[in-house]
Amino acid sequence: MTVATSEPRRDAIVSVRDLQVRFQTSDRRATVKAVDGVNFDVRRGETFGIIGESGSGKTTIGRALVFLLKPSAGAILHDGIDPLALSRGQFQHHRRDYQIIFQDPNAALNPRMTILASVLEPLELARIGDRAARERQAREALERVGLPQEFGERYPHQLSGGQKQRVVIARALTLKPKLIVCDEVVAALDMSIRGDVLNLFADLQRDLGLTYVFITHDLAVVSHISERVAVMYLGQFVELGPTEEVAERPLHPYTIALLSAEPRPLPSSMRQESRIVLQGEVPSPIDPPSGCRFRTRCPHAQPLCAERVPEWRELEPDHWVACHFADRPNFSSHESAGEMP
């Protein structure tokens, strides 16, 4: 695919250009192309959603964005600068602005540390302010995520899953980051708590001017929270655009299938029967299909799809897609995606 957006946008807080991340398999005999040529910008103050199924490489992208993983090729610019070009000390300092939160709050919290101690930890490591100032900051962070004062003295096992995830968010907030990568942050939470936590994210963004990269497999979550969404399949973006656009007028057959697969609590009278159920399994990222990676499961695949890699093109304003036939009306999504409740 060609790199169409070679010039980073001015308002981009993160610019990703032709990002590739590869791993060795455990027997060191093959290379997994976890992320294979991805381009996008994250705009300041927005929530950028990345949706994909397991093995699509979305988590790898998330880690690469905050340099928990080193890209094998390509560039990731933070505010126009390449963090990898920074000195060690500068890099550590720079890192505070770009945080990541994971799915499992249990893994992120030390069971033997009080909540307050856990929230204080990043401040202490960064040696910010004196002890009193740090503690005040930590308590503010806890308050901001809606946890009462007395929670600071508790231990993780005394908290519910949602409360723990709030603690993790508070901890990320202490260093006043510009951007937070949220990797499946509500996947482990109960339905009813999910709403609360998502509301919290929205509040924080409004109040603190945060930018989010929201990584999830859950269509409902991503479409609720993000302005723009990228759809990922087998290490590549297949579609990127404003959430409403992607949800209501998807361009890529995979997006269409994904939207159609989402079970909806609709009564039978409101359901339409032409649901698209993809056949087969996701191919191996070790040896992905030639041409378009989705072609092996695509209901509209043509011989061309095997021969040529589809171009990453801006088919509609701000709406990108990688499909040879996305502009053909015959599989245009509009009628198959279904109505929203």
Partner: protein, 311 residues
């Protein structure tokens, strides 16, 4: 639905069979905990007609999984006691001997679970595990069992079953594992399949495949399906009737259409409203106050309010 005897329920079921396949009456389950006896579920009544697909929905901890497990009497080690009756085809499973119970498990009532990875024995081939159900319940030769297993693998949509039959679970994807689980549960042709969150751990496109498979199998082989899930969408896609549980009790029992269009119970409507769905991205999600099952949060009614809809 309350304690209405099966005869009174004629109007409701999709089928008009003489009597329900499964009839649960006054079911309650207790567990031993460090704090004493905990009543996990109480006064649960519902029926499943032959071939019917019902969904049991509720949040985690509401007792839906325990209800599923108690039908097969597969309750965990700290199980302390069970009240009520579980009438299956006229037999009260609550008072069956262990031997009778074993003869029913897998043969007449099958069950599949959420995590297809951990629900399969990692050190046996999938073929072995599918055939095993058949072999414990009937006297078949190795060849017969293998042939039947291949047929089942094909039936649940596994490509090149001849190759997959000798694979181990870790060599399969999550979706394939769940297909294997389904194959193993259906090989004896059970009358009832209890599926406990069968797609929760799966990706959405794979979930669609599995749900389609379950619906298809239930329709073609007339197997009743009891689908336990927290996802109203899954129920809407798959089932005809929906039972909502909250704090260990059944609070609503209605057809899916009715329940979704006019949820009578505030909890059901709360659940529906809290869904962060595709369109309403502007605005806040309504939150359901409280989350501990012991804290009543149902606004107009207490948690122990009787089921809102009866026949």
């Amino acid at each position: 639905m309350g304690a209405g005897p099966p005869a009174q329920r004629k109007a409701e079921g999709a089928r008009d069979d003489a009597r329900p396949l499964l009839s649960v009456r006054g079911l309650g389950v207790r567990f031993k905990t460090a704090q004493g006896i905990w009543q996990a579920t109480r006064r649960i009544d519902f029926d499943v007609a032959p071939g019917e697909r019902i969904g049991i929905v509720g949040e985690s901890g509401c007792g839906k999984t325990i209800t599923g497990l108690s039908i097969l009497r597969l309750l965990p080690g700290n199980f302390a006691g069970l009240d009520g009756r579980i009438l299956f085809d006229g037999t009260d499973l609550a008072s069956c001997s262990a031997r009778q119970m074993r003869a029913i498990r897998g043969k007449r009532i099958a069950m599949i679970f959420q995590e297809p990875m951990s629900a399969l024995d990692p050190v046996f081939t999938v073929g072995h595990q599918i055939a095993e159900t058949l072999r414990v319940h009937s006297d078949v030769s190795y060849e017969e069992a293998r042939a039947k297993t291949l047929e089942m693998l094909r039936r649940v949509g596994i490509a090149s079953p001849e190759r997959r039959i000798d694979d181990y679970p870790h060599q399969l994807s999550g979706g394939m594992r769940q297909r294997v689980m389904i194959a193993a549960s259906l090989i004896c042709g059970p009358e009832l399949l209890i599926a406990d969150e069968p797609t929760t751990a799966l990706d959405v496109t794979v979930q669609a495949q599995i749900l389609e498979l379950l619906r298809d199998i239930s329709e073609t082989s007339k197997t009743a399906l009891m689908l336990i899930t927290h996802d109203l969408g899954v129920v809407a896609e798959t089932c005809t009737r929906m039972i909502t549980m909250y704090a260990g009790e059944v609070i609503e029992d209605a057809t899916v259409d009715e329940a979704l269009v006019r949820p009578l119970h505030p909890y059901t409507s709360g659940l529906l409203r809290s869904l962060p769905h595709l369109s309403p991205r502007h605005g806040r999600l309504p939150s359901i106050p409280g989350r501990c099952r012991r804290l009543p949060r149902c606004r107009p009614a207490a948690a122990s309010a009787p089921a809102a809809r009866t026949q």
